[in-house]
């Protein structure tokens, strides 16, 4: 008994292994997420950062199996939730998990709510989807949920329509909906990008609050490193469908390893320091139809790129305890590794 309990404790809440997700374009599948593996522990907040188009959303939609039907498909890998593989579940089975065990909120609070149903109805729906409750009880619960996410006049608001609310309020409604069934994992896909900073601060506060109150884990997708620093425990940096670096927050911000991470950090102006010139990353994230087959996907934009970067695909490897990076520079099996360590990687 105690053994099983112990082992259960050790199973991460979510285990993604070698996830591959592709899109059908002109008849062929192209992978937007290529071999992504990571774990999320209970009550952990994992941040996912990266430029636009690097596969953050696709990865999260894969977990929820909400990829556009007929176009997007999980083409390989495992997704284990509480130890059970959910990657191959039917839509019907998935419906029992979505909204109950795993829920999700999205970037655009404006369009993510159905404009023709009341707020109350939309929250009730998730409750009624998973619990045998009367409509009345569901409504009562919705109102208290609305109150818990800090919406004033909750009773009234429940009868109003999304367009009558501001962006911040709508995002609160989304959160209320997401936590309605006390899920164990919340995936938040850029929940604050569309909001103003002061409202963003409110929402981040709220998310932290509900995370603690509900003992949830959160996958926080964002491209704002500030947000990551603010609330995450762990960070995943993605580039072109792959994880290039993974570490705890403190470690990442203090000792970034991958050139991509470093450049990202230096590209944003900071409040507390003045720089005349910001770091830039030339070029663009390659589109999924012309991803390099082998080699480092960042190589053609990397200021530190070596000729080998084009021919050798770097693997995610531990560079420090709890810190992994996928770069030849940190690959111990790579012979020239030494030299670069000495030179140091970074920008002049």
């Amino acid at each position: 008994m105690s053994v099983t309990q112990a082992s259960k404790k050790q199973t991460p809440l979510l285990q993604v292994k070698n996830l591959q997700t592709g899109f059908k374009i002109d008849g062929d599948y192209y992978n937007a997420v290529e071999g992504v593996s990571f774990d999320v522990d209970r009550k952990q907040i994992v941040g996912v950062v990266g430029e636009s188009g690097c596969g953050k959303s696709v990865m999260s939609l894969s977990i929820m199996q909400l990829l556009p039907q007929g176009i997007g498909k999980i083409r390989g890998g495992e997704i284990a939730f509480e130890g059970a593989d959910i990657a191959g579940l039917s839509d019907k089975k998935m419906n029992q998990i979505r909204g109950k065990d795993i829920s999700m909120i999205f970037q655009e609070p404006m369009t993510s709510l159905n404009p023709v149903f009341t707020i109350g109805y939309q929250i009730e729906e998730v409750i009624l989807n998973h619990e045998k409750l009367s409509k009345k009880e569901a409504r009562k619960r919705s109102v208290s949920l609305l109150e818990s996410v800090g919406i004033p006049r909750a009773k009234q608001i429940a009868d109003e329509y999304p367009h009558q609310l501001s962006g911040g309020m709508r995002q609160r409604v989304m959160i209320a909906m997401a936590i309605a069934c006390q899920p164990k994992l919340l995936i938040a896909d850029e929940p604050t990008t569309a909001l103003d900073v002061t409202v963003q601060a409110q929402i981040l506060d709220l998310l932290k609050g509900v995370q603690e109150a509900n003992d949830m884990a959160i996958i926080m997708i964002t491209h704002d490193l500030g947000v990551v620093a603010e609330i995450c425990d762990e960070v995943i940096v993605m580039y072109a469908g792959k994880i290039v670096e993974r570490s705890t927050v403190d470690e990442l911000f203090n000792h970034p390893k991958h050139p991509y991470t470093k450049l990202l950090m230096k590209a944003i102006p900071k409040m507390d320091e003045d720089v005349e010139k910001l770091a830039t990353i030339e070029g663009l994230v390659p589109s999924i139809i012309n991803m390099p087959e082998i080699g480092c996907r960042f190589a053609n934009r990397c200021p530190k790129a070596m000729p080998e970067c084009l021919s050798v695909t770097p693997q995610l490897g531990e560079t420090a305890p709890g810190h992994e990076a996928a770069c030849l520079l940190y690959d111990e099996s790579w012979p020239e590794n030494e030299k670069h360590h000495k030179e140091g990687v970074g920008l002049a």
């Binding site: 103003d196 900073v197 601060a201 409110q202 491209h223 620093a229 102006p269 720089v275 010139k277």
Partner: protein, 336 residues
């Protein structure tokens, strides 16, 4: 010379330069139409009594939350909108009342860079034509020469010459923004209003555009009104910063002063709300309550008093004027 010194230098030198643009008590209201006969039933007070000056070669940053009237201010200055009240003086000339061809002629001197790199370029025009159009609106030019000039300009903003023959849809957001910048530069204007030029861009691309704008400023001796909602970007770009809230300017100060010592409670909240990409400094945040009120019926008195943690009774009664409380540091708050 370190960057810091350089900036200080610049600020000092700017003090002595001529005023390029002066805004006095500018008001821009959007009428709200209603009823069957489309009568005006109210006003959105998008810009409500705003005054500031910009000196030649200077960058004035404008920050504020969405809907606070930043774009409206920028557009009114360029006279793309008709001000409801107030004065706009450009190089001492009053351009508030200009219209028709006079206005068209005056527009030569001020140009705009827009927020949405997708919507701000006409998809049916060739890039070359997009950039040539402002010039051809004012001058008759030899075709060959013009093409050369434009290609030079394209190179300057970091685009290949071949871009001349392409269409906007073939470019990424950052590249489009460069095209927009080239268009604004084509007439060698004195003032450029940049309305959130980077907020639609990814961080990596954002830094490219910011760098470019900075380079161009020095090269062409440009004056910027730089609008953004991201305080750190504004701070990076500007010599002085104006903070707007609900149509009003609540604080104007030099970039350094504003960050070091924000005076207005709103500015303080704004700065504290910005998440820093640095785990070392976990600061105490001031989380404001509630939302920005609607500009259609703004609160009486200080527009911020409904959310202000330090609000007092007077705040709801009188709208505090913008006062210079420190040298070069203006704030509109009864606390000072």
């Amino acid at each position: 010379m370190t960057t810091r010194d350089f900036i200080q230098d610049r600020i000092d030198s700017l003090e002595n330069r001529d005023v390029l643009l002066e805004i006095q008590n500018l008001k821009t209201y959007y009428p709200v139409k209603g009823g069957f006969f489309k009568r005006t039933v109210g006003n959105v007070k998008a810009v409500d009594d705003v005054s500031f000056t910009i000196r030649k070669g200077e960058t004035l940053g404008l920050v504020g939350e969405s809907g606070c009237g930043k774009s409206t201010t920028g557009r009114t200055i360029l006279r793309l909108l008709k001000p409801t009240d107030g004065k706009i003086l450009f190089e001492g000339k009053d351009i508030t009342k200009l219209s028709g061809s006079k206005l068209q002629r005056a527009r030569r001197d001020f140009q705009m860079v827009f927020q949405d790199p997708y919507a701000s370029l006409n998809p049916t025009q060739m890039v070359g034509d997009i950039i040539a159009e402002p010039i051809l609106n004012y001058e008759k030019r030899n075709k060959k020469e013009l093409e050369k000039e434009i290609k030079a300009l394209l190179t300057r903003v970091g685009l290949p010459e071949s871009a001349y023959y392409k269409y906007a849809h073939e470019f990424s957001g950052g590249q489009r923004q460069r095209i927009g910048i080239a268009r604004a530069l084509a007439l060698h204007p004195k003032l450029i209003v940049a309305d959130e030029p980077v907020s639609a861009l990814d961080v990596s691309v954002q830094s490219q555009v910011l760098n470019l704008l900075k380079e161009l400023q020095i090269e062409f001796d440009l004056t910027y009104l730089f609008i953004a909602h991201d305080l750190s970007v504004v701070k990076h770009m500007s010599d002085r910063i104006g903070v707007m809230y609900l149509g009003s300017l609540v604080e104007v100060a030099s970039n350094k002063d504003l960050y070091r010592e924000p005076l207005h409670p709103y500015t303080q909240a704004l700065i504290s709300a910005i998440p820093e990409p640095n785990t070392a400094i976990r600061k105490e945040r001031i989380v404001l309550q509630g939302d920005v009120p609607s500009p259609q019926n703004p609160p009486s008195g200080c527009p911020f008093h409904t959310r202000c943690p330090m609000a007092m009774d007077v705040c709801s009664k009188e709208k505090p004027p913008l006062k210079e409380v420190r040298p070069g540091h203006h704030v509109a708050c009864v606390l000072y």
